[in-house]
């Protein structure tokens, strides 16, 4: 069968809702579809036996032509044995030209597994997608610690890419018809070699840095002399969330969930305040979608200033307390 279409992994969250990244990928897939002729956009859902009607209609309103559903109550939660193998089998039954998967934990695992099984190329953590020469998928990703950007093509089918969450914006369309395809796969035939003995959900800060309007972010410069204490103070004042660079994570001032950059999270706040961050490219990859970028750094030649809208050169231990006082004053004026 001639490979046709763009297949997207329809990842479900714990509430059995489709994750936002799927709608982001659908929006991008519509754009790709316009450039290549006669390709269907398909979403593959692997989940429990529930009523998918609402989900199917919503996927349709973002441009899905077909929704392929494999459902079984053993698929209620992500299963390392089943999900990658089922997705691979779907990709064999409906051979696509392209496969797009959100670069989530399970998405990455499914993508790696499927690529090897289908002996095809996979470009991970892409920051953009387009159609290149010979109608091939052109995947853009930072490489070399983010210092370089590479445009990558793939000579085999399907052409696979994983894409970070929050890179593309999701837009719905009107009057788009969608088909549901229910597919049965013999789960009993899949080897079960990985067992979960127990799993504990971590208490996560519900104020996800990806949904935050203002972010106060600390880098290597803030890791000395308790600089992060000032960062937390400023964040509290602004009702902002705290995040940081890879160095801040390495030194233990922030968690992995707060790390911004290519290997951390891609953020898009209205205001990003970078404190003591020199501006390594892998970090810049994570902040380029921000509205306003404000940088505080004592080195006026720090690369971060080339990527900021507003720069303040100086010692954060002098600047942050003064800035907090200024913010206090404004609040008092407003109160009067």
């Amino acid at each position: 069968m001639e490979p046709n279409g763009i297949l997207i992994y329809g990842e479900l969250n714990e509430e059995q809702e489709i994750k936002t990244v799927v709608y982001e990928l659908l929006t991008k897939a519509r754009e790709l579809k316009e450039k290549i002729w006669n390709q269907a956009i398909r979403v593959c859902i692997i989940g429990p036996r529930i009523n998918y009607e609402e989900i199917i209609n919503k996927l349709g309103s973002y441009g899905a032509d077909d929704v392929i559903i494999v459902s079984d109550n053993r698929l209620k939660e992500y299963n390392h044995n089943y999900h990658p193998e089922i997705f691979t089998q779907i990709a064999q039954k409906f051979p696509p030209r392209m496969i797009l998967i959100g670069a989530t934990l399970q998405g990455k695992e499914i993508a790696s597994y499927t690529a090897v099984k289908l002996e095809t190329g996979l470009t991970a953590d892409c920051t953009d997608l387009d159609i290149g020469e010979n109608n091939l998928l052109l995947s853009t990703r930072p490489t070399f610690g983010g210092q370089l950007t590479a445009d990558i093509l793939c000579s085999t089918f399907p052409q696979m890419a994983t894409i970070q969450e929050n890179i593309f914006k999701a837009h719905s369309i009107e009057n788009h018809s969608v088909n549901a395809i229910y597919n049965w796969i013999d789960i009993d035939k899949i080897d079960k070699r990985i067992n979960i003995i127990k799993s504990i959900k971590k208490i996560i800060n519900k104020h996800d840095i990806q949904n935050s309007k203002i972010l106060v972010s600390g880098g290597a410069g803030a890791c000395q002399n308790n600089g992060f204490a000032l960062i937390y103070q400023l964040a509290q004042k602004l009702k902002a969330q705290v995040c940081g660079s890879r160095e801040a994570r390495e030194k233990g001032f922030i968690t992995k969930a707060q790390q911004v950059g290519q290997t951390g999270k891609i953020v898009s706040p209205d205001i990003y305040i970078a404190i003591g961050i020199s501006g390594a490219n892998q970090h810049l990859t994570g902040i380029k979608n921000s509205g306003k970028i404000i940088a505080v750094n004592k080195d006026k030649n720090a690369p971060i200033f080339n990527y900021s809208d507003i720069g303040i050169v100086g010692d954060l231990f002098e600047i942050l307390p003064e800035l907090i006082r200024s913010l206090d004053n404004i609040e008092e004026e407003n109160d009067q």
Partner: protein, 253 residues
């Protein structure tokens, strides 16, 4: 018990030197052992003590990559092997995983456990370890923080991601990818350095790994780079000194 650790020599991405044309100057940029791979070695060496394990470090790369194997032996690994062939050059993840899997099949078939780092700092695709496991048809788990127990049939590990702490039980043989910043690598001892100097590093080429010419390197890699450029997302920066003004800008947003 036999443990293989796959390690990689990478350019030091924290200290890149550029040519005037904005290309990476590889002659001036240092090569280092991928930092988390050193932690993978440490994870293996801790098992050596408990389970009397035999540890082999394997790397694929040019002859210069023997440097990372020297480091591995100095840290305390028992054996090392270099997978080296000009036909391996330019391998993407798919092709690299083929070479690594072949080294297990052809040269270390009685391996019980494979340990890799979660990702490399140059490519950061975090795929190669998993791809090797899929090729060898063995179970794998990523983001491992702790090996709780191993017996001849099973390995029990603790994995930690952003959202979950999970205890997994995998059938052996198995592959685990370990998280960064968990296994602080030991410093080599003097006798380790001496062993590393004397050790005779075996190198295996394409034919010795029973691979075909079209399976590896550029020929065996479906993905290819069509263009590379220095990342640039510059903005026009306005420097200000008045913090009252800054406070107002932030508040007005």
């Amino acid at each position: 018990m036999n443990i293989v650790v796959f390690i990689k020599q990478v350019p030091d991405t924290n200290d890149v030197k550029w040519t005037p044309n904005n290309n990476i100057d590889r002659t001036k940029t240092d090569s280092i052992i991928n930092p988390v791979d050193k932690e993978a070695l440490e994870a293996a060496l801790r098992l050596k003590e408990t389970y009397n394990a035999n540890i082999t470090a394997i790397t694929m790369g040019p002859s210069k990559a023997v440097e990372v194997l020297q480091e591995a032996i100095a840290m305390g690994c028992d054996n090392a092997a270099l997978l080296c062939d000009s036909k391996f050059a330019g391998s993407d993840t798919l092709a690299t995983s083929k070479v690594l899997a072949a080294s297990i099949k052809e040269k270390f078939p009685d391996t019980d456990l494979i340990i890799t780092g979660q990702s490399a700092i140059d490519g950061e695709t975090a795929q190669t370890g998993l791809a090797v496991a899929v090729r060898l048809n063995i179970p794998f788990v990523a983001h491992v923080n702790e090996v709780i127990e191993i017996n001849t049939n099973k390995i029990i590990v603790n994995a930690e991601t952003e959202t979950y702490k999970t205890v997994y039980e995998l059938n052996m043989p198995a592959l685990i990818c370990i998280n960064n910043y968990v296994f602080k690598p030991r410093l080599p001892r003097i006798d380790g350095y001496m062993k590393a100097q004397k050790y005779n590093y075996p190198a295996y080429n394409l034919y010795e790994l029973n691979l075909g010419e079209c399976e590896t390197g550029i020929k065996g890699s479906p993905t290819y780079v069509s263009k590379v450029y220095r990342t640039d997302e510059k903005r026009e920066c306005k420097f200000i000194e008045d913090l009252n003004k800054l406070a107002r800008i932030i508040k007005e947003n």
